[in-house]
């Protein structure tokens, strides 16, 4: 043992040196460095997680946007279709209305024409009666009782088929 140089005092001193170094390095190296390494690892993990989350959210938003656009397109199509339908309906209705109005006007015009014709016929009739009376008076040179005469003519006219029609 002497030849190798083993001494109890040196051995204890070296053990003490080791302990001292362990303590000092623990204080100044291991604790802060491991803390920092762990902190950085946690930070990196957090960042990666955050990125993942953002990516996910982005994807979700993209999907939502696409869905909204598709929906809006569909909605727009539907509105256009509806508008077309309404327009068509309005057109049809307007057409219908115009037709009815026209028919009404036509009927009214017809009625008016008929009325005017009747009036004309009436006038013609009375004028004809007067004329006939004058002519007959001239022919027979005697004045028939005017009242009697008219009755006679009316009777004849009523019997006449041509003028009675209409």
């Amino acid at each position: 043992m002497e030849g190798l140089g083993i001494h109890l005092s040196s051995l204890i001193a070296q053990l003490f040196n080791f302990g001292l170094l362990l303590l000092l390095l623990y204080m100044f190296a291991y604790k802060p460095v491991i803390k920092m390494l762990d902190q950085r690892a946690a930070k990196i993990k957090e960042s990666v997680d955050q990125t993942e989350e953002i990516k996910k959210q982005h994807e979700l938003a993209e999907k939502e946007t696409a869905r909204l656009i598709a929906e809006a397109g569909k909605e727009g199509k539907k509105i256009i279709e509806q508008a077309t339908l309404i327009g068509e309906e309005t057109k049809q209705k307007a057409k219908q209305d115009a037709k009815t109005e026209a028919e009404k006007l036509l009927a009214k015009a017809k009625l008016e024409i008929e009325r005017e014709r009747d009036e004309a016929i009436g006038e013609l009739r009375s004028a004809f009666a007067d004329l006939t009376m004058i002519a007959a008076g001239k022919v027979i040179d005697r004045s028939l009782d005017k009242e009697q005469h008219r009755q006679l003519i009316d009777k004849m006219l009523n019997e006449s088929k041509v003028l009675n029609k209409n």
């Binding site: 002497e2 001494h7 070296q14 040196n17 170094l21 190296a29 460095v33 920092m36």
Partner: protein
């Protein structure tokens, strides 16, 4: 990149001068060292050129006493190592930032390397518990080895009460230091074994379980199984004895592996300087740098592996 003119980045005249200087130093080195003396006799070269033959002494020399406590030259070097290591880490960890600078990155990669080793071998839970001791062993051994290569360590002579002695000497070459580390390693391993496995830890060394149960079988009438069991039980006890022995042998192997490698390296360097004072020793300095690293790694990772074996449950429990 444009091709540089000349040789090895120097202009041609400078390169020639360098080569001539190297050749000259080599010749002087060979002539001035033991080679030259043996081959050509004393050429009358100045005395400072030759290096005396090494007379290695294994015990460390005492430099001074405080009271009755002797302080050896290896103690002084150990303090220097401690001071250098603590200063290196103290200034590196003073202002730690999340985004590290170069200095911080060096420190982090050293610590991170050994932490990674611990976690790889012993798992995250125990790796972190073993880390402090394992790293301190690694750093202490490698710093001692490398610091002892600095010129001045081993060549500054002081006069002490016991005669002439080197002021500084590589700590690893004082057997008390490897022995102290081996004892630390031993106590550390046994502590974790007992702490983790409790009383079961000792069944590795004293394993009578199979023997007693086989004797029981024998009495119950199962002769064949009982006899075979007794045979295996005796083997188990023998293996336990070997385990115990190997556990104790570790201290010795730890001590002499480090002590032998480091002392041998130092003597090798001194021999080379003695043979040829200049240049020849340079490759061996490189070799010693590598040996210092390897010994530090071996010492620390063996401690780690032994601790990991100690906390693993033994197979005999099955």
């Amino acid at each position: 990149m444009a091709k540089k003119k000349g040789c090895m980045g120097c202009s041609l005249p400078i390169a020639i001068v360098v080569v001539l200087a190297v050749l000259g130093i080599s010749v002087v080195s060979l002539l001035g060292g033991a080679f030259g003396n043996t081959l050509f006799g004393d050429l009358g070269l100045p005395e400072w050129l030759s290096v005396p033959a090494p007379h290695p002494e294994l015990p460390a020399a005492t430099i001074f006493h405080i009271g009755s406590i002797p302080f050896t030259n290896t103690m002084i070097t150990a303090w220097i190592t401690i001071f250098v290591l603590v200063a290196f880490f103290y200034f590196g960890t003073k202002n730690m930032k999340l985004i590290p600078g170069r200095y911080q990155m060096i420190i982090e990669s050293i610590i991170g390397y050994i932490l990674g080793l611990c976690v790889d071998i012993a798992g995250d839970k125990y790796g972190r518990k073993f880390f402090a001791i394992v790293t301190t062993i690694f750093l202490f051994v490698i710093a001692n080895a490398w610091i002892s290569l600095i010129p001045g360590i081993g060549s500054i002579i002081v006069h002490t009460a016991d005669g002439e002695a080197e002021l500084f000497r590589g700590v690893n070459t004082d057997i008390n230091f490897p022995l102290a580390l081996a004892l630390v390693s031993f106590v550390f391993v046994e502590y974790w074994g007992i702490k983790t496995l409790g009383i079961k830890y000792f069944t590795k060394f004293v394993n009578t379980h199979k023997l007693t149960s086989s004797i029981g079988k024998l009495f119950k009438g199962n002769v064949k199984a009982g006899l075979a069991g007794i045979f295996y039980g005796i083997i188990d006890i023998f293996i336990g004895f070997i385990e115990l022995l190997s556990e104790l042998m570790r201290v010795i192997s730890f001590t002499f592996r480090l002590f032998g490698n480091m002392t041998g390296g130092e003597i090798l360097l001194l021999m080379m300087l003695f043979l040829a004072p200049f240049l020849l020793a340079i490759p061996f300095y490189g070799l010693e740098l590598l040996v210092g690293f390897i010994q530090a790694l071996v010492f620390s990772s063996l401690t780690l592996v032994f601790a990991n074996i100690a906390i693993s449950p033994t197979h005999s429990e099955e």
